[in-house]
């Protein structure tokens, strides 16, 4: 009896909370303002963002705007140091003391799902997400949702990254090439020639044998180098691809892998790669680059923002240009790409307004390119100009559509191609206009505008590579791993083991261990420490879901 009364009360409460929406004209308004203020407890990184006097991550022009439009407030309970977010979420998950909305990676998402700490978002997403947002997030047959979906329902709102976020691009010291009268390498053979020259022929002309070709480190860009080397020998690194029998197989245990490992091993032996790459993190390699020790980077499309920029600041003569990585042996390009979503936003089980997250993301889209875009970009161009692109970090949640940078690049090219430097016809892409302004400032002689320089290098050179050589935005032109399954208990345990086994073994080979025996031992151990389980798990998922995500 008591239970019934309770249930009745609960229903009443539910009815009361839902009632205001029911009475509203549009029940599921993507931008509907709450009658009563909704407070979301969050964790966020502090981030080193510029704020005008009186504003902060706690209270700024965007959070006030959100409150005005949606009546949503943020309570930043955890303002953690940059880079500590993941660990703090691990801790918070372990003691079940979680924010209302938080960001997780695939493994955390699975753990939170398993511990019943988060709620499914499928329903509220279907009901509240605006058409434009749905359109963007359904990119690549909804693949952004594959890792966050359990039992056909998504538990995570994808925090998408650029579609080319995992695609290697080659940055070269053009001044070194010019010094040696060389052309940028296009295939393995010419690549070896250039690397040899950069190492042995004194590219910086200082009379010392103190340079080496490749800025490979063991941290951030390690995978980019693997991908590039695999590509120039006609292979794919660290991916699960569909074999002829329709099942997935892991590329790096195939004998062909030895082809590119052999090349890397040679490179190391000949000194084209730093002898101590293994102990260099991103920071130390950046010092080498800016110290003029090395001249080729396999980087990301945005890399010009970091190490090359440091290099240009340290030495204004350094000239970095982006090129495509060396081609397949047959001259074609099948560059690797990631399913460019590495983290998801999830909603605490106990939070009553999961739709608030959907609305926030809708609003963000409207600010970026919808009905509030003039206001938003206008502010960014005037009062908040100093924040540059970090302006987007003002609200706690934001997202980059996967094709955003590509569209900016396309628009910039239109402007430059038109020849008259008129930006009026790309007014619907304010970020492109903004980029154009800093780039022009740099090109017109403000050589101190390093930000403009990076933009120029990224948007012109790197973008050209992707558009003209790699295949633009057509997913079928790229190689992408199909191990896009949500985690399971087995995968969560085995994956770290096999991953660290892989890097360990490959590092040994690169640094001179016997190729055949080390590789065979690696394959054997890979199978025994969990590779076989991964094979089973991924294939079971693939069988079920192939037609959903790869319908062709």
């Amino acid at each position: 009896m008591k239970k019934r009364i309770l249930a009745g009360l609960l229903a009443l409460v539910l009815l009361l909370t839902v009632a205001p929406f029911a009475m509203a004209e549009d029940k599921y308004d993507p931008l509907g303002r709450y009658e009563e203020p909704v407070t979301i407890r969050i964790m966020r990184e502090k981030q080193n963002i510029w704020f005008p006097e009186g504003e902060s991550i706690y209270d700024n022009v965007i959070t006030r705007f959100i409150e005005e439009k949606l009546n949503i407030r943020f309570d930043i309970v955890w303002a953690v140091e940059d880079g500590q977010y993941g660990q703090q979420i691990n801790g918070a998950m372990a003691i079940n003391d979680l924010p209302d909305v938080f960001q997780v990676d695939a493994s955390q998402l699975f753990q939170a799902y398993r511990a019943d700490q988060i709620q499914p978002l499928q329903e509220v997403y279907d009901l509240y997400a605006s058409e434009e947002v749905k359109e963007i997030l359904s990119y690549n047959n909804n693949l952004f949702f594959s890792k966050s979906s359990f039992d056909g329902k998504t538990y995570g709102y994808p925090r998408t990254d650029d579609f080319a976020s995992g695609t290697p691009i080659m940055f070269i010291r053009q001044d070194w090439l010019d010094n040696l009268n060389l052309k940028a390498p296009t295939d393995l053979e010419s690549f070896i020639a250039v690397c040899d020259a950069f190492t042995n022929k004194d590219p910086d002309g200082n009379g010392l044998h103190d340079t080496y070709a490749l800025a490979m480190d063991s941290a951030g860009s390690y995978n980019m180098y693997c991908r590039a080397f695999a590509h120039m020998t006609g292979n794919v690194a660290d991916a699960w691809l569909e074999g002829e029998d329709g099942t997935l197989y892991y590329t790096d245990i195939q004998p062909e892998t030895k082809e590119w490992l052999k090349v890397m091993q040679d490179f190391y032996a000949k000194g084209y790669i730093s002898k101590e790459y293994i102990s260099l993190g991103t920071d130390r390699m950046a010092y080498e680059i800016s110290g003029g020790k090395t001249g080729i980077m396999m980087g990301y499309f945005w890399t010009a923002l970091y190490q090359p920029q440091m290099s240009v600041i340290a030495n204004p003569d350094a000239k970095w240009v982006a090129y495509p990585i060396p081609a397949y042996p047959d001259g074609s390009y099948h560059v690797q790409a990631d399913n460019s979503c590495y983290s998801w936003l999830v909603v605490n089980k106990n939070f009553e307004h999961p739709e608030a997250l959907i609305k926030l993301q809708n609003l963000w889209y409207e600010m970026w390119r919808g009905c509030y875009s003039d206001w938003y970009h206008g502010l960014n161009a005037t009062t908040y100009a100093e924040a540059q692109e970090d302006f987007k970090y003002y609200p706690p949640f934001w997202w980059d559509p996967p094709l955003k940078n590509f569209e900016i690049g396309a628009n910039l090219r239109k402007v430059y191609d038109s020849g008259n430097m008129d930006t009026s016809f790309i007014d619907d892409d304010p970020e492109a206009v903004k980029a154009f302004t800093v780039m022009e400032d740099y090109r017109n002689g403000n050589k101190e505008n390093y930000y403009g320089w990076s933009h120029y290098t990224n948007n012109m050179y790197a973008w050209n590579v992707v558009e003209d050589v790699y295949g633009g935005t057509d997913p079928s032109r790229y190689m992408m791993s199909r191990s896009q399954a949500p985690m399971t208990s087995k995968i969560a345990r085995r994956l770290p083991l096999v991953d660290s086994l892989r890097t360990e073994s490959f590092d040994k080979i690169i640094m001179g261990a016997d190729l055949d025996s080390t590789f065979d031992a690696f394959v054997k151990r890979w199978n025994s420490v969990g590779g076989k389980d991964l094979y089973k798990e991924y294939n079971a998922w693939y069988k079920e879901n192939k037609n959903v995500y790869w319908p062709d």
Binding site: I95, Q117, E276, L501, M511
Partner: protein, 310 residues
């Protein structure tokens, strides 16, 4: 001491009536409570080593899986290597550090200048107080291929040495930098023991015609032997702590084979991979072995050196 004490003293100091001792129990109260709250209460969490811990279900609601975590742990391909590394690094560090501090204590005790004696002790002890977090930044620079050490080696005509890339060399680096940092501490203890040696012993030896070297060998060393044994046995108790912070700040993938130790491994799986049950299981294993070592060392100290630690 009490055994050699005179009878009246015993009656005064050894009275055990509660009327006499309650103030001492009262003194212990604060420490005991603090230890209870911050050390014993969290020990409840050891149960998750036997569970498949799920945060929402807590320590008592999670599913019991008995020794599955331990079975899994010993099935892990690297676990024996990790245990081996822990022991090897630890033993080498203990032996070299104490060995070096004996040598330095003997050498410094021969320094006649009082100023140099004092200053050198202060300087050599100094690194002991600096944390590995600070030293890590410095050593990574200094021992890199372009670092000061390699520049020195090259200027002396040698080939550059890749300390961070070869397993053997990296272990050497761990041990060498550990000597550099911890030497001073043991040295100061030994110097105290040396300065406590009765000077008449040396005089007698001099009369007998023993030279300085013989004196060191025949008098000084035997006199500080109990202290040396004590240092060894004390170190034995911590044999499974092979220097967590040092390894954490210095190591990299290339030298995992020679330098992944239990503590860094536990840190990795608990803190980064959130495998809390497994991490606790490995920690518990370490504690049990550590207890055995500590008990052994306690009895050894008692037996060999006639020292009582606790």
């Amino acid at each position: 001491m009490i055994r050699s004490a005179a009878a009246p003293r015993r009656s005064l100091l050894a009275r055990s009536k509660i009327r006499e001792t309650w103030p001492m129990h009262l003194m212990m109260l604060g420490p005991v409570i603090m230890i209870f709250i911050f050390a014993y209460v969290p020990m409840v969490g050891i149960v998750i080593a036997f569970q498949d811990y799920i945060p929402t279900k807590g320590f008592f609601g999670s599913e019991w899986i008995n020794f599955e975590n331990f079975e899994y742990m010993f099935m892990l391909p690297d676990i024996w290597q990790i245990i081996g590394n822990t022991l090897i690094i630890s033993v080498l560090k203990i032996v070299t550090t104490i060995g070096a501090s004996i040598i330095f204590a003997l050498l410094i005790s021969e320094v006649k200048s009082k100023t140099l004696n004092k200053v050198s002790q202060s300087v050599i002890l100094f690194p002991w107080f600096i944390s590995w977090v600070i030293l890590g930044n410095i050593f990574k620079d200094a021992f890199g291929l372009n670092g000061m050490v390699n520049q020195l080696i090259k200027s002396l005509g040698g080939n550059e040495v890749f300390f961070f890339g070869e397993n053997g060399l990296f272990r050497g680096l761990l041990i060498g930098t550990n000597i550099w940092k911890d030497l001073g501490y043991n040295m100061v203890i030994l110097l105290t023991a040396i300065s406590g040696i009765d000077p008449t012993l040396y005089e007698a030896a001099t009369i007998d015609g023993a030279n300085k070297f013989q004196q060191k060998l025949k008098i000084t060393l035997p006199s500080i032997m109990p202290m040396i044994v004590l240092l060894f046995t004390l170190a034995l108790g911590g044999i499974l702590n092979a220097g967590f912070e040092q390894v954490l700040v210095l190591y990299n993938n290339a030298v995992l084979d020679s330098s992944e130790i239990l503590d860094t491994y536990i840190f990795k799986i608990s803190y980064y991979e959130s495998q809390h049950s497994l991490g606790t299981a490995v920690g518990l294993f370490k504690s049990v072995v550590g207890t055995i070592c500590l008990c052994t060392s306690y009895f050894l100290a008692n037996k060999l050196a006639g020292y009582r630690i606790f």
